[in-house]
């Protein structure tokens, strides 16, 4: 039976309404899409790093999560999940539990690329049977749009502001997906919200039902931080993919597979122009910024194509 969004959204929601995420927040969309990929009969324990998602979805005494859920801190979601999974293995071995549980972590880019990076690397290396999902919105949004190592070059963030002596963030975005691939784990994928969500659904399903550690990097735009109207979410995601700023691919047992190749790769400025955080790049005299941004995307895209062929 092929993928049908209609059928998928008819499944019982595992992340329910009433949470306090902003309208148009990418994190909530990522969570719903990933949780839909669980087979309805399977249980899950969700581990959440501190961040927008955590403070908006589990405010005592309310929770938006239908599955068991644990938050312990910002930088340790992977290790916490590893502990849950370890307990599951031994309790199952001892016959104390008989359900099938899946273990899913959600962390933002701050909790994943930066402060939670060591914990993530350790958990992946140890081989826990878990899926780490990064909802990547390219800055510390919970604290108010501070730059992270995932923030792209030139982005105007509150700790990399533009000014007379600053062009925004000075460094390129860290390529975390490649670093996860280098861990030699069975499954790594990049996805975002495209069309009928088939790409994200299938990757989430594969990640969840692959034995061993899996890493799913989901570009999850933040209308407030990126400064675009919330209703443009789908267009922003489409442009990220069509410009190859955020290529869709998966790496299965070390083998790269391109999920989508744009027929006509669009210039990066069509993606950048939609967002207030890149506004200064379009000022007269700043054409060099656009050129550098284009060169970087082209270089990374070429590298990816080489890996996929």
């Amino acid at each position: 039976m092929g993928y049908s969004l209609k059928r998928e959204v008819e499944k019982k929601e595992r992340f329910v309404g009433g949470h306090r995420l902003c309208a148009g927040c990418g994190a909530g969309i990522t969570v719903r899409a990933v949780m839909r990929a669980l087979e309805p009969e399977d249980k899950a324990v969700v581990t959440n790093a501190t961040g927008c998602l955590e403070v908006s979805s589990f405010l005592y005494p309310y929770t938006a999560w239908e599955d068991s859920y644990i938050h312990s801190a910002f930088e340790n979601a992977a290790a916490t999940c590893g502990g849950v999974e370890a307990a599951y293995n031994v309790l199952k071995k001892k016959g104390k539990i008989d359900d099938t549980f899946k273990f899913i972590v959600f962390g933002g880019d701050g909790g994943t690329y930066d402060i939670g990076f060591q914990s993530l690397s350790g958990a992946m290396e140890r081989g826990h049977d878990m899926v780490y999902v990064c909802y990547d919105n390219e800055a510390y949004m919970n604290t108010g749009i501070q730059r992270s190592s995932s923030t792209p070059r030139f982005a105007d963030a509150t700790t990399s502001p533009t000014g007379k002596a600053s062009n925004g963030k000075r460094q390129n975005k860290k390529d975390l997906s490649s670093i996860m691939v280098a861990h030699g784990i069975p499954y790594v994928a990049q996805s975002t919200f495209i069309g009928n969500f088939r790409d994200l659904h299938e990757k989430a399903h594969r990640a969840i039902y692959t034995h061993g550690p899996a890493f799913l990097n989901v570009m999850s735009p933040c209308p407030r931080g990126w400064r675009y109207p919330a209703e443009d979410m789908a267009e922003i995601c489409r442009l990220a993919v069509e410009t190859c700023v955020w290529p869709l691919y998966e790496v299965v047992e070390g083998e790269y597979r391109l999920s989508y190749e744009p027929k006509d790769k669009l210039p990066v400025d069509v993606f950048l122009a939609k967002q207030g955080r890149f506004k200064h790049m379009f000022a007269k005299g700043n054409e060099w910024m656009l050129e550098l941004a284009q060169n970087y995307v082209d270089k990374k895209w070429k590298e990816l194509l080489a890996k996929c062929n």
């Binding site: 324990v45 005592y60 068991s68 644990i70 938050h71 590893g82 370890a86 309790l91 140890r126």
Partner: protein, 394 residues
């Protein structure tokens, strides 16, 4: 019949862990606690335990692993020292506030900096407000016995708090002593099964752990933790009484040694008690009315009991194996002196910070301190309250 052995403190704790057969261990090396996960790794390798042995990449992750495992419904243990405990700091609070009765073997070592691998209590004293029960050992035997008592205390439904079982780095962790061990079946039966009421992997009912706790609720939750710590006091005594029935070895909040008619006394924690006891015996033989209180349980702090034990003294010296840089004395002193405040007639109290970074504590030093107490009794003048001893110029 119990088993007579010769073990280091580290091996004794690892041995207790094997007998308990915990569900998950977070394992990371740091001197001087390294041997605990190392001995345990061999138990795992030899198939003697069912434990998931999680070789994490830091102490931060070992405590995080324990939090996840205990919340999931398992029994989680770990061991650490010094900087390792400091790296766990944030998670210590998370563990206690989530009411997860994790057991941590703390092999006390000085905190950096400067880096130093030897014993003092700066690591666990630094964590004294983290909401963990803290029990200290003088000997290898006590480290073993305390470890077996940790889970029955922490897991008690009235308590549900994590427990730190402390012993002195190298002095007991690496020193080999005669020890009496319980048979495996007796140890297991004493510790019992862990059957939490709520846990993440529960079939009937999912659980959410670690909420964002807004102003309306946070304070109530903190008070619940404070109440749990109070509730731990009778439980600690009850578990000790059961342990005594099983082994004949008696434990309480502290040991009061020759305190019945003591006029001066030392209050201290850990392995230094051996030296203090020898000094008390020596001075008693000379006809001096001296005694010692060796504190076993620092959290919860046995305030009234300690005051009662010291009330008839004329002067006491509280010995802190940790600096707190308060410019007014160490942590044990601050709390002991506070305990004395409620007495109608109080002994005079002074503080000695001693033994930092492994500096030796000798009978000569203890005798000198008793001499200082005598002087206070004679002159009625306390003099400088906050003192250091054992440093080169003294």
């Amino acid at each position: 019949m119990s088993i007579r052995e010769r073990l280091s403190g580290n091996e004794a704790v690892a041995y207790a862990m094997r007998q308990i057969n915990p569900d998950v261990m977070g394992a990371f090396p740091i001197t001087p606690s390294t041997e605990i996960p190392q001995y345990f790794a061999q138990y795992v390798a030899d198939g003697l335990v069912d434990t998931e042995y999680v070789t994490v990449e830091s102490e931060h992750s070992s405590m995080s692993t324990c939090i996840g495992a205990q919340a999931a419904g398992g029994r989680a243990v770990t061991a650490t020292s010094s900087c390792g405990l400091a790296l766990m700091f944030e998670l210590l609070y998370v563990a206690s506030s989530c009411r997860l009765p994790i057991t941590l073997a703390c092999v006390n070592r000085a905190l950096s900096g400067p880096i130093n691998i030897n014993n003092d209590h700066s690591d666990s004293m630094g964590a004294r407000d983290a909401g963990w029960i803290q029990i200290y050992a003088e000997t290898n035997q006590e480290a073993y016995d305390n470890f077996l008592q940790a889970m029955p205390i922490g897991e008690n439904p009235a308590v549900r708090l994590p427990v730190m079982i402390c012993q002195d780095g190298f002095i007991t962790s690496h020193g080999v002593e005669n020890i009496e061990l319980l048979e495996d079946d007796k140890a297991k039966a004493f510790v019992g099964e862990y059957n939490p009421e709520h846990f993440l992997l529960k079939h009937e009912n999912p659980l959410a752990v670690g909420p964002y706790d807004v102003t309306h609720y946070y304070m109530e939750h903190k008070i619940q933790q404070a109440e749990a710590m109070k509730a731990a006091k009778p439980v600690i005594l009850q578990v000790a009484a059961e342990f005594e029935k099983l082994t004949g070895r008696k434990y309480g909040f502290f040991e009061a040694y020759r305190m019945e008619d003591a006029e001066t006394a030392l209050v201290l924690i850990g392995s230094s008690a051996g030296t203090a006891r020898a000094t008390v015996d020596k001075l008693r033989a000379e006809g001096k009315k001296v005694g010692m209180v060796k504190l076993r349980v620092f959290r919860p702090f046995p305030m009234e009991e300690l005051a009662a034990a010291l009330q008839h003294c004329k002067a006491v010296a509280v010995l802190d194996k940790a600096e707190s840089f308060s410019a007014a004395g160490g942590p044990l002193f601050a709390e002991t002196r506070s305990a004395l405040y409620d007495l109608d007639s109080r002994p005079k109290a002074i503080n000695y910070v001693y033994g930092l970074g492994g500096r030796d504590f000798t009978v000569d030093v203890a005798e000198y301190i008793f001499g200082q107490l005598d002087e206070i009794v004679t002159t009625g003048n306390t003099g400088e309250v906050y003192r250091h001893i054992g440093q080169r110029e003294v």
